[in-house]
Amino acid sequence: MTQFGFYFDQARCIGCHTCAVACKDWNNVDAGSVNWMRVNEILKGKFPNLKMVYLSIACNHCSNPPCIKVCPANAIIKRESDGIVLVNQDACIGYEVCGAKCLKACPWDAPQFANLKKAKMEKCNLCYDRLEKGQQPICVEACPMYAIDVGPIEKLKEKYKYSNEAEGFLYNNRVDPSIIFKSKKIS
């Protein structure tokens, strides 16, 4: 099976949120609690000795997605062809009923719920529709810093010198997230 995943260049990210906004525009996600792509600021030190990096992160379409195992409605699937993890919203029983088990199981907060009682899970689908048309995901094409890449993870590993970890991101061997980094450690 081919596994698609992300490459993220943490040393380049300027925290501009263009990926996150382009994602909301493309996928029609309103402003609010739902963020398929999240841009986190990580600041360390005391004035004037400061270091700061950003971590832009969506869903890592893990090899062993913990969200799938905990979902009581079997609403989350992993595609055979490309390893993309998708949610079937018709099957999802919603935040209130199951207590967001998938979100609790995910080490990186990929499953997202709107601020509504009946909210169903939604998350990054790696723009599979764009990939199928030979286009890059919208975040990749949006990034003014060319800091994000998406493709078969093995190919990304050949293309880039990479690390499994980044500042603000801890690798989990058991889950095996499909993301690699050019990391910028600041500790």
Partner: protein, 758 residues
């Protein structure tokens, strides 16, 4: 809908090639996906490199076009000015009323009583204030402003030093430098042309040392810098002079360059060494002023003078301050005495418009270093300005730069002009304002004085897309469409070789009209011939873009939505002047780089020294006022807006909550914790917003990002948190806007109201 640009048709979706064209550091490509006449999403440039990728401001544009807050119909004021009570009227009624007032003002007081506020909210060649300006020229003219808040200090310094605003090297050339100093320059947030940040990342990846000097630990400092040097606001000149002291006293200056290409070095040296005032401008002297350790100043000076080539990019922010033009002069001169001019990897700090054809299509010819005017006003000339002699403090003997007509009023000084008029020494008694694409009240210094001034006018018309704090003062509001609803051409903001053609993506929403349509219809009511405005948009755009000889194919530009100009090697400002000085003098009066400016000396204005001198002022940290208001307020640009445009966009609003940045030391002294609601105040006004208690700003300094909308409560406290409620009006003699020079105090108002990230 346009035939061109619809090169893809899928599921009834048309892709229209357009762009983003507000007054930011961008001008970027957008592709609007339009279905059933509605924009459903955007893509950006995915064609040939270099791509002109839009930032989040452009990507969020759908929420601006379809904002429920858009102005939909013409409105007439029914409440008090500023109250925001309006009544819907027809276009016919609205334009009749505007025309009637224009005619009455002209008849009763003359054209100079009409103040035309031509804002920067739209940066297309055709729309925004352009049509209204051409119309008002035909009507006999108007009083206009001079000065731009972003850059007037940098512009003046650039003209004074090099005689031109075309300074700096192309972005690509930064890869040739060995040391990059980013002084008060934060392109990670302000963009400075698409591609600049990517280039800076490559500079960093190449291992080139980058130093950032800024009171804030900016995103640029965090991402690009090897070293961040926090500096007290308004003291940049002192540090630059101290660097000059180290360079000269350690004999590191480039003597050959100085003797061959410059005049006035001895006078600069004499001041630096303290020969006149007895104060050598040593790093120890500067340390007390700037709070930068002397050793850091010395080391940076030595590095800058000895690592060759080195690029000092002096940003505009520190020049957006009292005597900002002097800071910018001091920076330019440091580039000069180290000989980092006209060569790859160097950088001539200044206005930094490396590639740009605006100056080459300047309307006046130069003769014997004086501007030769046409015999009578052309359609683009304002008759009120036309015969006017130059303003005393302007660099009127030089071609380019700011219009020096003395009929003009400085943009940050026109509240006084309205209130005092000719009796107060201003060139006109202003009676009405015609405001286009400008959130004037919000975006210039001293809002509370502005409110008093605007209330005294007989008539105000505002042409805008939203009910801005400025629009609330209008008698008549004319709703304008957005650049998604019309054709236009965007010129790159700074120095990049490209143009963007904005193909109309959708029809005008509601009853809104384009600025062009409004000027055409109003011209009829005024009984004047608006000239080219009667032509179709596309025909006018062909005429307006025709002087730009680098556009080889208008049709290709329109079809592709952009026109990228191939340049063989990165542009280097002043290469010709340095390589062949005999045939290529600098465009200054002396033909050389002017470390000492005779043209400035002629003014005999002690606040405008012909060589850069460090001066304090009454809103500086060491003034008596600082006892009452001990914190320095700076008001930079943030990452989620373009000035005050895009304020209403939810996707952008959620990215960074509006808050005052305050260092933990200053906060704890005042018992303020992160997220607490605080009052920030001085004699000019009071703001109430949450505090962001952070290490990212130096102690003694607070930051309120400019552009948030003014919103007074019943007591007049600005709970919107517009920085200009606290900033100064007025200007420095060279034109710098003192918007980063303000003393304030902060007090706790109420505990922990909202979540604010540290």
């Amino acid at each position: 809908m346009n035939d061109l640009g619809e090169d893809e048709e899928l599921n009834g979706i048309k892709i229209i090639k357009t762009g983003c064209c507000h007054d930011c550091g961008g001008r970027c490509v957008l592709r609007a996906h339009v279905k059933d006449g509605k924009i459903i999403r955007f893509e950006t440039d995915n064609d040939e490199e270099p791509q002109l990728r839009a930032c989040m401001r452009g990507r969020a544009y759908r929420q601006r076009v379809y904002s429920p807050e858009r102005l939909q119909y013409p409105l007439r004021r029914i409440g008090q000015r500023g109250e925001g009570l309006f009544k819907r009227i027809s276009w016919d009624e609205a334009l009749d009323e505007v025309a009637k007032n224009l005619k009455e003002m002209k008849e009763q007081y003359g054209n100079s009583a009409i103040l035309f506020v031509a804002g920067a909210g739209n940066q297309g060649m055709l729309h925004g204030p352009v049509p209204a300006g051409l119309m008002l020229n035909q009507f006999g003219g108007y009083t206009r402003m001079w000065g731009a808040p972003s850059y007037e200090g940098a512009l003046f310094a650039s003209m004074a030093t090099y005689g031109t605003i075309m300074t700096g090297n192309a972005r690509e050339d930064l890869l040739n430098t060995k040391l990059l100093i980013m002084w008060g320059w934060n392109p990670a947030n302000t963009i400075w042309d698409p591609g600049t940040n990517l280039m800076l990342a490559k500079v960093k990846e190449k291992g080139i040392k980058v130093v950032v000097i800024d009171p804030i630990f900016t995103d640029s400092a965090a991402v690009f810098a090897d070293q961040w040097i926090p500096i007290r606001p308004g003291t940049d000149t002192a540090m630059l002079l101290a660097m000059g002291y180290v360079i000269i006293s350690e004999d590191l200056h480039n003597k050959e360059f100085i003797s061959k290409y410059t005049i006035g070095f001895e006078k600069y040296k004499s001041y630096i060494l303290g020969e006149g005032d007895g104060i050598p401008k040593t790093p120890e002297w500067a340390e007390k002023i700037c709070l930068v350790p002397a050793e850091i100043i010395s080391n940076l000076a030595r590095d800058y003078a000895s690592i060759k080539p080195a690029a000092l990019v002096a940003g505009w922010g520190p020049a957006r301050a009292a005597y900002g033009e002097i800071y910018s002069r001091a920076a330019n001169i440091l580039c000069v005495i180290t000989g980092n001019i006209g060569l790859n990897g160097g950088y001539a700090s200044g206005f930094m418009r490396a590639y740009y054809s605006r100056e080459r299509v300047t309307s006046y010819k130069k003769k014997d270093n004086f501007i030769e005017k046409p015999k009578k006003p052309r359609p683009q000339d304002n008759p009120v300005d036309f015969e006017a002699p130059p303003r005393k403090d302007s660099l009127f003997k030089l071609m380019g730069g700011t219009n020096p007509a003395n009929t003009r009023i400085h943009y940050n000084d026109y509240y006084n002009a309205i209130l005092l008029g000719k009796k107060g020494g201003y060139p006109a008694d202003l009676k009405m304002a015609y405001i286009v694409a400008s959130n004037r009240l919000n975006q210039y210094g001293n809002i509370n004085k502005g409110i008093k001034a605007l209330k005294t006018l007989d008539f105000i018309v505002v042409q805008d897309q939203f009910m801005t704090p400025t629009a609330k003062f209008a008698d008549i509001i004319l709703p304008v469409n957005t650049f998604m609803e019309r054709n236009d051409i965007a010129v790159p903001w700074l120095g990049s070789p490209y143009y963007i053609y904005l193909n109309k993506a959708i029809d005008s929403l509601y009853e809104s009209k384009s600025d062009l349509e409004i000027a055409r219809e109003l011209s009829k009511k005024l009984g004047i011939d608006p000239g080219i405005l009667n032509l179709e948009e596309d025909q006018i755009l062909r005429i307006l873009s025709s002087p730009r000889k680098d556009i080889k194919s208008y049709n290709k530009m329109k079809k592709d939505g952009y026109y990228k100009i191939k340049i063989d090697e990165p542009f280097v400002a002043f290469r010709e002047q340095i390589e062949d000085p005999e045939h290529n003098p600098f465009p200054t009066l002396s033909g050389k780089i002017e470390i000492f400016s005779e043209h400035i000396a002629e003014k005999e204005n002690p606040l405008m020294p012909p060589i850069p001198k460090y001066m304090t002022h009454e809103e500086h940290y060491d003034s008596p006022k600082a006892k009452k208001y001990p914190l320095q307020l700076i008001t930079p640009h943030n990452k989620r807006r373009t000035h005050s445009s895009l304020q209403m966009v939810p996707w952008l609003k959620e990215i960074e909550h509006h808050a005052v940045w305050i260092n933990i030391t200053d906060a704890s002294k005042r018992k303020i914790e992160n997220g607490d609601m605080v009052d920030i105040f001085n004699d000019r006004g009071r703001i109430r917003i949450p505090a962001k208690v952070t290490e990212r700003i130096m102690p003694g300094v607070i930051c309120i990002y400019q552009g948030e909308w003014y919103k007074p409560n019943k007591k007049g406290i600005d709970i919107g948190g517009c920085a200009n409620t606290l900033t100064q009006d007025g200007n420095s003699p060279g034109g710098a806007f003192p918007l980063n020079s303000n003393l304030v105090e902060v007090k706790l108002f109420s505990k922990n109201t909202v979540g604010v990230s540290k």
